[in-house]
């Protein structure tokens, strides 16, 4: 205990700041990790399909970021640098076979001419390369066969497109950065792709209230930079920020790295403009924190994955930027201690707590064994759980002292068995490197079955333990994730893929999650992938009402068909 306390005190930092906010972070990490080129969110961009046209070959280069890797649910191919190399495959629920809905028309030359009149020649795209990229998601898991991509530049153009498509019963798929993980942003068959990327203007920013109004096609990273220059941060940050667009973020209700601190988009989005299937423009673009005049309809469009309307403009509350960041890496003897520590952290650190991540011993060992550059920050004792705590506040010395006092108190109380407080940016980065490196490490260890679940925190780890009992020696079961958000990443590793193992895992994992009132999709949405699994997390009556609302807003079902709702309901509602 004393050693640990001493260690905590001795690692005082003078210049620690959030590595994700530091433009030099990438270089720092590289030098620290002796040549390892793992790319973090800030300095790399996830795969942008359009890049494929610019290269001299068709190699696909995906730089996996924390968010991406840990949330892949299908099979994919990853490579590093320029050499195409199959890294591994992820396993999980296969997508259901579906048939094209014959109610939808197919594109003809009159349609093309009409769209050219609305949008001009160059924004009506039939080029095969462009279409090929837009037809496929970045994981290369979902592939449509659209023959037409439209690039509107204004809400009015979106409205005209949808009004026409609705009258012709042409199905459409709204597409932002196409960085989704559940097949929500690519066509399933020949839907017309409406890409919002040309609508990328910032409309206004209120420096007093921190309220940003912009078009839906703005790339998240550009917005982050813009508000950063004004002294604010976006309440949303995720690995795909270099490509994803704010309209897509809102349509999928993206969670990301800052949710534990700033809450969900339902709390931060103040207003929206959206276009309905029939072309009606819904102006709900308020910029007010308080507005109780009628039903707050914008929430219907947050997380409905473009199936109720196309989001065209956004108003969002951005918090002020804070300068002081501290990171600690701790060991706990059991899961109960992790829970109690979270409770204490919320109380004692309260307003400065910005991350609370947990890692079980099995995940931790995989990192030490398989991740280049990963080192145990603690003396080599056996611990069952590890916790990474990050604080972000406005006063460095106060915040650090507060964190130190909290950690000492937690150690004296027995909640923490050992721990270290980062003394500089390199050490902070190395702590995050362990947490962020888990998915990659597990990939290297063999085949992996991945689940991204939201489960009440007191029950969360029971699933991991039950799964261990269930699978016995046939698989390694690992649990880690965002404890502060009750978000578990359940990873099951085997030497090679085995149908029998999958049958042991599913539907058990969904049924267990459902039984404990968890969510089978914590933050990625339903898309195509889980449209027929929504009943695991939502009651029949609720799903039926969703279908009725879909029918009300989009009677012909032209908006992002085959997604979100079970096929049976979508057609019969």
């Amino acid at each position: 205990m004393w050693r640990a306390a001493h260690r905590l005190i001795s690692h005082r930092s003078k210049n620690l700041c959030d590595p994700r906010w530091n433009p030099n972070f990438h270089n720092s990490i590289q030098s620290y990790s002796s040549g390892f080129t793992y790319n973090f969110g800030r300095t790399c961009k996830p795969f942008n399909p359009y890049l494929r046209r610019q290269g001299s070959d068709v190699q696909i280069c995906i730089y996996p970021t924390r968010d991406y890797i840990e949330n892949l649910h299908g099979s994919t191919e990853l490579c590093y640098g320029k050499s195409f190399r199959i890294q591994n495959r992820f396993y999980g629920s296969a997508t259901t076979k579906i048939q094209r809905n014959p109610i939808f028309s197919t594109i003809n030359s009159d349609d093309i001419n009409h769209f050219r009149e609305i949008l001009g020649e160059k924004n009506v795209i039939q080029d095969e390369d462009r279409l090929s990229a837009a037809n496929m998601d970045w994981m290369r898991k979902y592939k449509g066969s659209s023959k037409l991509l439209l690039q509107p530049r204004s809400t009015e153009e979106v409205s005209q497109i949808l009004k026409y498509c609705n009258s012709r019963c042409l199905a459409v798929v709204p597409q932002g950065g196409n960085t989704g993980l559940v097949g929500g942003s690519v066509p399933v068959f020949d839907e017309v792709i409406i890409n919002i990327g040309s609508m990328n203007n910032i409309i206004s920013f209120d420096k007093v209230s921190g309220i940003l109004v912009c078009e839906a096609g703005c790339i998240l990273e550009n917005l982050i930079s813009f508000v950063d220059n004004q002294g604010f941060i976006m309440p949303l940050d995720l690995g795909a920020k270099g490509s994803c667009q704010i309209g897509g973020n809102i349509s999928t209700n993206a969670g990301g790295l800052r949710l534990v601190r700033y809450g969900s988009l339902h709390g931060n989005v103040l207003g929206l403009e959206a276009v309905l299937a029939n072309g009606t423009v819904l102006d709900m673009l308020g910029t007010l924190r308080k507005d109780n005049t009628g039903y707050d309809l914008k929430h219907l469009f947050i997380g409905s994955e473009g199936s109720l309307g196309v989001v065209t403009k956004v108003s969002i509350l951005t918090p002020p930027k804070l300068s002081s960041v501290n990171v600690a890496f701790l060991a706990c003897k059991d899961y109960l201690s992790c829970q109690k520590l979270l409770l204490e952290a919320k109380r004692k650190l309260g307003e400065i707590l910005s991350a609370f991540e947990f890692i079980d011993n099995q995940s931790f060992n995989v990192v030490l064994n398989h991740l280049e550059g990963a080192r145990n920050p603690l003396p080599p004792s056996m611990h069952n759980f590890y916790v990474l705590i990050e604080t972000t506040g406005s006063d460095e010395s106060y915040d650090k002292e507060k964190l130190e006092a909290f950690l000492l108190h937690s150690m004296e109380g027995g909640l923490v068995s050992d721990g270290v407080l980062a003394q500089d940016i390199n050490q902070a980065s190395s702590f995050w490197h362990i947490r962020e490196g888990i998915p990659e490490s597990i990939m290297k260890a063999g085949a992996v079955y991945k689940y991204d679940l939201s489960i009440p925190v007191e029950k969360m780890y029971d699933l991991v333990e039950e799964m261990r009992v269930r699978l016995g020696h046939s698989a390694k079961v690992m649990g880690y994730g965002h404890l502060g958000d009750s978000n578990l990443h359940l990873n099951i590793s085997t030497p090679q893929y085995d149908d029998a193992i999958l049958a042991q895992i599913e539907p058990f994992v969904y049924e267990w999650t459902s039984k404990h009132r968890g969510s089978i999709s914590a933050e990625h949405g339903v898309g195509l992938m889980k449209a027929n699994k929504i009943h695991y997390s939502k009651s029949a009556e609720t799903v039926q009402l969703m279908a009725s609302i879909k029918k009300l807003l989009d009677p012909n079902g032209i908006l992002n068909p085959y997604k979100v709702l079970p096929g049976s309901l979508a057609s019969s509602s």
Copy 2:
């Protein structure tokens, strides 16, 4: 400048805490204010209609709290202690004359018998006194003529009631604590009153995540006490907490005192159970911070004032309780300085800022002239604006030093002309007393026309100034409110009420608010009072969609008729 800085430094507090959290606060205030018996939210309960039966006479005793007084929009009678005394009248938009919708049936003896079968004899109430109380809102502005009050004890009973009412086309009004301000919770004609107050069980509390699940009839103050004992606070606090129920809070999307810090109920409510008009129970009672499985339908019921369904259970995220509270009272030379100060406070105090209230010189003078016990905390210089800043954090000494540093910096930068930091609870209370006493002071000064508006912060005070130009010497125009929430309380005072003045104010005030994309109801909802004014804040297309959703969820329109939506749309949709 130096004097002011010195004053700030000299007023260090050792034992300051939030008066609203201190059970002895009421006594402290009383002794401080030399016998003045202004009652604060914690120690008094707003008028509970049922109390009328218990008294030996019919005197109505309303203890006005900050929230209540400043938000009254109609005429009312107030008294203090036991003596009935007409205090004043508030003026504003008159309610529109409406006709009973003949589609609705009237109650007969078969109905009564049926309800007795469902609920038992004692929960089917026809007693005149009970009905008389439930037919009227606490302001005595709205009065219905219901002949029946039902008190279900479970969701199943609510479901059976609604299913029957829907089949018989009997209109209903859901009622919680009946503390609303827009006539949303009382019958307009003979609607059946469904009072949820018997459903007041706490179902669960997760001490790690702070997630509370309870029935909708729980009184807010009881929930505040319950989670307080667990080391948490409700993210919602308002003057009516002694009577209002959480189901009603959610149905009106109540704002309250903590919104600037913890955000709206759309961010804090994690799940709901609601019963639709046809008796269908929608189980959306998730307890997860992250859940992206389909449309997030609970938001439809937050703020829809019982017109889409009856909320029966609630899951809500409660933040950890923090112990350190500091209050400063400052003077600024102009409104721009107030705005800049808010920006600085958000940045420098960031995570500990819990209130940012502004008061203009006109409001301040009215308080000094009319409010018993009010004293100017600053030397008697002329200032144009005053700002009250409160911080709430987890470490008293750190937080206080942080606030002091911020204040000194703001004075050096010229944003603050003078200021004082409360040195003890009495001084903190006296600062809040000024802010909270404004509505009462204005009442004493004459007739008052009151508007509760949400306007983008940079434009907010323009309305006050334009109104001054518009009204000239005929009226005194005052502006104050929650600058941190962009919530303006516009008060116009005249020696006596005058139709000509009202005609000068309205519809100008609504048109101006609408033109600047403000809200004509910041936090009280639409109810009966503003059902025909909703178009000032919402577009025609949006209101039309609201009406379509109402029609979808409640085809017979039995739920809280005549409220929220314009009469024309409600019947034609």
